[in-house]
């Protein structure tokens, strides 16, 4: 029998999907009263492993021990019975119910709910670990961090002793992250076992006791956090030495204003102001970063500039170059085709690569012609030009693919992004809008993308970069604009600003009042 100290012990867990081995004989253990960070690049098998632990997948082979006993976990319900609770990246809450209602939802009990007793119980739980929660608040009124709190309490209320958190900090400000970490430390002191999945190295170092690293479906080792460094963790994760420096070339000296946004206001279909009087300028040869908590208006900003989101007020002025000199064109109200016709050279790499930027089931050739298929005479498409372009991109950007006829959905995330960014850059834009271009990409691909963006910047392209990792934004961008609730709360120089200051702007400080209309 295994020692009782181990809350969970996994031995030789194997799981494959078709020909892909997602987990190959992975072994790891978590002790009671310990925070274990599970580190690995995308596609290294972290989420698969945790889904096996929480009963969503069933392993092809291997053994699972909980508190020293061998168990089989066939469903999420059985995982709960074993005291394993998972907090997913995408919250599973019901918007129209209150926090307390969500917490007890689905639990056996009497028909009626004794709200007083329930509220007291939840409050007690929350204060024990240092949460702040308003039990009667509806989910739709909550911020992302409040929703996460509800998710965690939901799991604790069900008696979980082992908590798995899948990228919990992706949607939080630095301040909220610190709060979450304090809660995790309290839970650890209470004897809970915690597994936190992340790819942010500084967070791993800040909160965990030990780190287990996965690479390409295999475990490459477990190290004590106290005895390791960022560089060592990166090398283990990637499998060889990588430089963590992001290049930031000097911005253009003779910059011209390529894009001027004046009082841009957009409303969601429900009538909320998702962008509220946003004004800024974008210059040639610079990268302007946009920071903000997820859902602060980033998507709407990109899409309204690209002519895909209805604009309620304000102006989007684009510089157009022509023989008779440059002039400005207000593109508000124009469809994407019209914007191109007016001579505005704009490229847009949307957040949703396979659902918007590319056609997942089509091959590279067909995806190359997505915006240019109308060119050429006659009713038939010209596939020679896009085919040559695809072949050229494969060579130039080292895209790993069986060939130009392979559907792009079969490519890895990094290669999909190279296809998309490559196509957009090939249109030689003067304004390039990129939304979360490295989301889900491994370290290597991320750096390739940064290099591509810098290359464009050096060519004099005005780049608008919507990012989520503050460290990257601060290293790569020449200026950082912060959005909160659809308002600009500040435009700062990252060289002379701290992460905490940007964090405060993300939470709404500096705008007078937090916009929440």
């Amino acid at each position: 029998m295994a020692d009782e100290l181990n809350a969970i012990k996994l031995v030789d867990i194997t799981k494959s999907f078709g020909n892909v081995v997602a987990n190959n004989r992975i072994s790891l253990d978590v002790r009671k009263g310990e925070i274990l960070a599970l580190l690995g690049e995308n596609g290294s098998g972290k989420t698969t492993l945790m889904n096996i632990l929480s009963g969503i997948y069933f392993p092809d082979g291997g053994r699972i021990y909980v508190s020293g006993r061998e168990v089989t976990i066939r469903s999420p319900k059985e995982a709960f019975e074993l005291g394993i609770g998972m907090i997913h990246q995408h919250f599973k809450l019901i918007d129209v119910l209150t926090a307390a209602e969500n917490i007890v939802l689905g639990l056996p009990g009497s028909v009626g709910i004794n709200r007083k007793a329930l509220f007291a119980e939840i409050k007690e739980l929350a204060s024990r670990y240092g949460f702040e929660i308003d039990t009667g608040k509806k989910i739709y009124d909550m911020s992302v961090s409040e929703k996460q709190t509800v998710e965690i309490i939901k799991v604790l209320y069900r008696g979980a002793d082992i908590l798995i958190l899948d990228e919990p900090t992706a949607v939080l400000t630095p301040q909220e992250t610190e709060k979450l970490f304090n809660v995790l430390r309290n839970m650890k002191a209470d004897g809970k076992a915690i597994i936190i999945i992340t790819h942010k190295l500084n967070e791993v170092l800040a909160v965990s006791d030990r780190v287990s690293i996965l690479r390409k479906g295999e475990s490459v080792g477990t190290v004590d956090t106290a005895k390791t460094t960022q560089q060592e963790l990166t090398d283990l994760m990637v499998g060889r030495r990588v430089s963590l420096e992001i290049d930031r070339p000097q911005p253009d000296e003779n910059a011209v204003e390529c894009l001027k946004i004046v009082d841009l206001t957009c409303k969601s279909p429900e009538g909320h102001r998702v962008l509220d009087s946003v004004s800024f300028s974008l210059y040639s040869g610079e990268i302007l970063g946009i920071a903000g908590i997820a859902g602060s208006g980033q998507r709407e900003l990109c899409e309204s500039i690209a002519g895909l989101y209805p604009v309620h007020g304000g102006a989007i002025l684009c510089r157009v170059q022509s023989q008779d000199g440059d002039y400005r064109e207000n593109i508000v109200g124009m469809k994407p085709t019209e914007i191109i016709k007016r001579g505005v050279a704009m490229a847009f790499v949307p957040e949703d690569r396979l659902g918007m930027g590319l056609v997942a089931s089509m091959d590279m050739t067909d995806n190359m012609m997505l915006k240019s298929y109308r060119s050429g005479k006659g009713i038939f498409t010209d596939r020679k030009t896009p085919r040559a372009m695809a072949e050229n991109l494969i060579k130039r950007l080292d895209i790993v693919t069986p060939g130009v006829s392979t559907p792009v959905r079969l490519l890895s995330g990094g290669n999909v992004q190279k296809v998309l960014v490559g196509r957009e850059i090939a249109s030689s834009p003067s304004v390039l809008v990129v939304a979360y271009p490295v989301r889900g990409l491994d370290i290597n691909s991320s750096y390739t993308i940064y290099d591509l963006l810098n290359e464009q910047k050096k060519k004099g392209v005005a780049v608008l970069f919507i990012g989520e990792d503050l460290d990257v934004l601060m290293e790569l961008c020449d200026r950082v604009m912060v959005l909160c609730g659809g308002r600009v709360t500040g435009i700062v120089d990252p060289k002379s600003t701290t992460k905490e200051q940007i964090g405060l702007l993300m939470a709404g400080a500096g705008s007078g009042k937090a916009a929440s209309s």
């Binding site: 078709g18 508190s67 089989t72 066939r74 469809k335 847009f348 997942a360 915006k371 038939f380």
Partner: protein
């Protein structure tokens, strides 16, 4: 912790599930087609059990089905005549399905085309020479079918109204209208039975190789549809819209217009099929003019994976089944319902085998041979 270890014990008694499903994406095309062929063989074997239970020799019954569909000139003509509207309707829904616009209103669009063609045949027969008359019938059929297809598309494009129910309900409206014509304004005065008069010889399609020239028209549409979807700019737009409306908008496509245009084409081809039935086969209009072809066509389109050339063979195959089951009804006195059951078994197996192409089953295995699967 004490409560938990009790729970642990209970969970321990659970075994691994008996059968699990896993999605597969690695099947080579040759193996997939082998499975499809195997499914037909399996269907014939299951059908054989049914035939034996009815007291017949399955081999002679199957042989008669084939003989009855192909061995004489009349039977060949009959089979092809069944296949023509089926292929037409399948081609009609293909562009819509490719766009993921679930047009299950081909039945109604066929009838709309048939009504328009019949109108021209009944009332304009003296006004123009035969070739012009037939051409006008063709155009009227296509236009009527197209318009009947565009209406649900308009509602979908403008207000996002679900096209499945809309197109389905539209079938019943036009069917009711045919009934009204049959009992009212178009009722043949000489007949004691509520029916529409036969259309004049002038308005009937000429024959080529013993079958009305509809087969040439339909084969021409087959080729055109293949190239339209694969190489035309509009075909490309249809594929993109079908895959993701967001991507289409991102690429600057006018999605609403593409939906409307495509549904006009879809309805128009169905309308042409309706014209062919009236002018080439039935020579009149009735409630049973479409006779479920618009629904069977969904099966044809699906089995062919929306490939127009494959559709030619699948619609011939289904026509053979239909003609063959008529033959065995007469030759072996097998009841009509049993013949339909046989057809059902074959279709069930052919459609069901797609499951085994997309998924694999993993059975419970003993500990120790984990490397397997």
């Amino acid at each position: 912790m004490g409560a938990n270890s009790e729970k642990t014990k209970r969970v321990l008694s659970h075994a691994e599930p008996l059968v699990r499903l896993a999605k597969r994406s690695d099947m080579p095309a040759s193996k997939a087609w082998a499975i499809r062929v195997a499914s037909i063989v399996a269907a014939l074997a299951i059908g054989a059990v049914l035939i034996v239970a009815l007291g017949h020799n399955p081999f002679s019954v199957y042989a008669d089905m084939v003989k009855g569909s192909f061995f004489t000139k009349t039977s060949r003509v009959e089979t092809i005549k069944i296949a023509i509207p089926l292929l037409g309707a399948a081609l009609a829904i293909t562009p819509a399905f490719k766009m993921k616009f679930w047009n299950i209103g081909a039945e109604g669009q066929i009838l709309a085309g048939a009504i328009a063609a019949t109108y021209v045949a009944l009332f304009w027969i003296d006004k123009m020479p035969r070739p012009v008359l037939i051409l006008v019938m063709f155009i009227a059929g296509a236009a009527a079918g197209g318009i009947w297809g565009v209406i649900p598309a308009l509602f979908k494009a403008k207000w996002g109204i679900n096209e499945t129910l809309f197109t389905l309900m539209f079938n019943y409206i036009v069917l009711g209208f045919v009934r009204y014509l049959q009992n009212g304004p178009w009722r043949a005065p000489a007949s004691s039975f509520p029916q529409i008069a036969m259309i004049g010889f002038q308005s009937r399609l000429p024959k080529v190789f013993g079958v009305h020239i509809g087969w040439i028209i339909i084969l021409a549409i087959t080729v055109a549809m293949f190239f339209y979807l694969k190489y035309a700019k509009q075909g490309y737009e249809i594929s993109v819209v079908g895959e993701s409306v967001k991507t289409a908008q991102y690429a600057g496509m006018n999605v609403g217009w593409i939906i409307i245009r495509t549904m006009f084409i879809s309805g128009a081809i169905a309308g042409i099929a309706g014209f062919l039935i009236v002018s080439g086969e039935d020579f009149t209009l009735s409630e049973s003019t479409a006779g479920g072809v618009g629904f069977t066509a969904i099966t044809v389109a699906w089995l062919s994976r929306l490939n127009p050339f494959v559709m030619v063979f699948i619609s011939m195959f289904l026509a053979t089944l239909s003609k063959g089951s008529n033959t065995i009804q007469t030759n072996f006195k097998i009841p009509a319902s049993a013949a339909e059951v046989l057809t059902g078994i074959i279709l069930f197996c052919m459609l069901g085998c797609e499951f085994f192409i997309n998924y694999k089953l993993i059975f419970r295995h003993r500990k120790g041979d984990e490397a397997g699967v």
